[in-house]
């Protein structure tokens, strides 16, 4: 037993320091070679650096693995290198956007943003005057109303497609998929011509929410459908075999089992519409003061605030716009994190 107790846990499948050194030096040599190559050839710019590094690194990596472990290992290493670069390419713009928004938006942030609206100020006033309270409340109201409309419709549509599987399931699935590709301006124009011109004849938050719902329902319906399809049929059979009706089985077994995924569907739906600009510009009128009544009067919103501030183009207004983007991204981020947190805490017991 003493022998066993002296053995330390090891991970012999991990890269040895020697192998890590080899990878590190490959990267180093490739970087140096890239600099030299860009310096002595007419290639210019970031793209040249990136392209040269990619090619040089892959060639070196391939050669090293080919020499040490043969062709199939070399192919494997090349595939891994290309995938890693691909991930880098995908993540880089996202990080870049976040960093830019943070850097630029930071300068426009002050507490007044959350306590003042733009009733008394124009967007070109000094940045510490006025704020985006009206836009913030407007966005929250628009999103909440759109969610209240879209969540039941979206989830019920998904339940029809997965549980009832009615005769119209296939055409409805096709429609929902087609709807999720509808340009947001079309949703805005539809509400404009179907509701605003013939009925209300004025801007309001509600009509904006209706347009957002058109965009949100397909997202929620599709995501919910995919989540519900993942619920094993065993559970439905178990519920029905215990004497439950289909409705009670769905409500007590299927939906609770899919809860985490349904929360994700809601988040994706909100993320889809929170920054939507075109229908908002068409329908809500974008007021400058706080308007808590979605049924009448123009209602501000963050996308509208950003759009308007950018379009003015003065230095202060552009700073304002970046601050607005910062707040909007912050809201979406908080939503994502909190929903993840909530859904994980409830399921992982």
């Amino acid at each position: 037993m003493t022998i066993i107790s002296t053995i330390k846990p090891q991970k012999p499948w991990l890269a040895t320091p020697k192998q890590r050194l080899a990878t590190g030096s490959t990267i180093l040599v490739a970087t140096l070679a890239t600099y030299v190559l860009v310096a002595i050839t007419p290639l210019k710019g970031k793209l040249a650096y990136f392209g040269c590094f990619l090619i040089i690194f892959i060639v070196m990596d391939f050669t090293i693995h080919f020499a040490s472990r043969g062709l199939s290992a070399a192919k494997d290493a090349t595939a891994r290198a290309i995938v890693t670069f691909g991930v880098g390419l995908a993540v880089l713009p996202m990080v870049s956007i976040l960093v830019t928004v943070f850097n630029r938006g930071r300068r426009g942030l002050h507490w007044g943003l959350f306590t003042h609206d733009m009733k008394m100020n124009s967007v070109s006033d000094p940045i510490n005057q006025g704020g985006l309270l009206h836009a913030l409340t407007g966005t929250v109201i628009l999103v909440v109303i759109a969610l209240v409309i879209s969540l039941p419709i979206g989830v019920l549509t998904a339940l029809y497609l997965t549980e009832i599987k009615g005769r119209f399931a296939n055409p409805i699935r096709f429609l929902v998929q087609a709807m999720s590709g509808v340009p947001s301006i079309v949703a805005g124009l539809f509400i404009l011509s179907a509701i605003v011109y013939p009925l209300t004849k004025s801007y309001s938050g509600l009509v904006g929410s209706l347009a957002l719902s058109i965009l949100m329902i397909p997202t929620i319906a599709r995501t919910s459908e995919e989540v519900l399809l993942l619920i094993p049929n065993d559970l439905r059979e178990a519920g029905v075999a215990l004497g439950g009706t289909q409705w009670r089985t769905v409500a007590m077994v299927v939906v609770p089992a899919a809860k985490t995924g349904l929360v994700t569907a809601v988040i994706l739906g909100i993320a889809r519409i929170a920054g939507e600009t075109a229908p908002i510009v068409l329908l809500t009128g974008g007021g400058e003061s706080v308007n808590g009544n979605p049924f009448s009067g123009p209602m501000g919103s963050l996308p509208f605030y950003i759009w308007k501030a950018f379009s003015v183009g003065s230095e202060e207004s552009i700073t304002r716009a970046w601050a607005g983007i910062f707040v909007l991204l912050g809201i979406v981020l908080v939503l994502f994190v909190s929903a993840r947190f909530l859904s994980e805490r409830k399921t992982s017991r």
Binding site: P232, D234, L235, R236, E237, A238, G239, V240, A241, L242, G243, G244, T245, R248, T249, M252, V253, P256, A257, K259, T347, R349
Partner: protein, 293 residues
């Protein structure tokens, strides 16, 4: 229904009238011929046929299940055993393209008759599935009592029922300290016994078990077999199994199903001892002695 009279040359007599007469004659010999007892008690399958789309998978099965006994259904894969027991609590109709013919009499009433409340049927004829399927969003206690909530049954003392069901399923001593834990935290064998407890909570008269041990290790299998023996005194149990030793251990009667490429049919049924020691049909003998299948 019209199908049930087509194969009159079979050993099994399917007409209720004649069989009710024969029941008097055969009552003493404890034969398992359909209708071999007073009508209107327990579960009786009469001339069951089943289809999936155009495929005829089950042909003219007639079987009686006696209260307080365990009946094992054995036979090679794909011979329609599972399909047959799924017709007994109307789970067969859940499969798209499914069709059936024949009668299943529960306490003398056809469960496929027009106007039958199918949820009430499934309350009386419970089911345990091949793969343990506890509800993942519920705790152990909630799982056991799920049937009451699903079927909207009110009970006076839930804790008592919970303990009783878990005890009958042989799981109480293992989970009594963690009833609030999730069902998924149990081992496979415990999950299957949890599913048995869940099926018992709505007090079924008949319990259908579709290969309940096929996904379990020998230890868990033994526990489930003990559970079956305990339960058999108070209810009718029908168990589908691929394990012939299991059929021999737990059952009072055994039915042998076989498909010769066409629809599956019932080759022979009788007391388990007879089926395993001196089967009447050559095919049964070949199967139980391990010569094929």
């Amino acid at each position: 229904m019209s199908q049930s009279n087509e194969s009159e040359n079979e050993n099994m007599e399917t007409k209720p009238l004649t069989s009710s007469l024969s029941s008097v004659a055969n009552a003493a010999s404890a034969s398992r011929t359909p209708g071999s007892r007073a009508m209107g008690v327990g579960l009786e399958a009469r001339g069951i046929h089943a289809w999936f789309g155009d495929k005829h998978v089950l042909e003219d099965i007639s079987l009686d299940f006696w209260s307080g006994t365990v009946t094992a259904l054995i036979g090679p894969s794909g011979c329609g055993k599972s399909t047959f027991i799924r017709t007994l609590n109307r789970m067969h109709e859940f499969i798209p393209g499914a069709a059936m013919a024949g009668e299943v009499l529960l306490d003398g009433k056809d469960i496929y008759a027009e106007g039958t409340d199918v949820t009430k049927i499934r309350l009386k004829v419970g089911m345990v599935f091949q793969k343990p399927n506890p509800f993942p969003s519920m705790t152990i206690a909630e799982n056991v009592l799920a049937g009451l909530k699903l079927a909207q049954i009110k009970v006076e003392n839930k804790d008592e029922l919970l303990q009783e069901c878990l005890e009958r399923a042989g799981l109480w001593s293992e989970v009594k300290d963690r009833l609030k834990a999730h069902g998924g935290s149990l081992s496979g064998g415990q999950q299957q016994r949890l599913c048995i407890a869940r099926a018992l909570a709505v007090r079924p008269e008949v319990l259908l078990m579709d290969e309940p041990c096929s996904a379990l290790d020998p230890g868990s299998t033994l526990k489930i077999e003990e559970t079956i023996s305990h339960l058999s005194s108070s209810m009718t149990i029908i168990i589908v199994t691929h394990n012939m030793q299991q059929a021999a251990r737990v059952s009072d009667y055994t039915g042998f199903f076989l498909s010769d490429g066409g629809p599956g049919s019932l080759v022979e049924v009788g007391p388990t001892g007879e089926i395993f020691s001196r089967p009447k049909d050559k095919r049964t003998e070949n199967y139980v002695t391990g010569r094929f299948g």
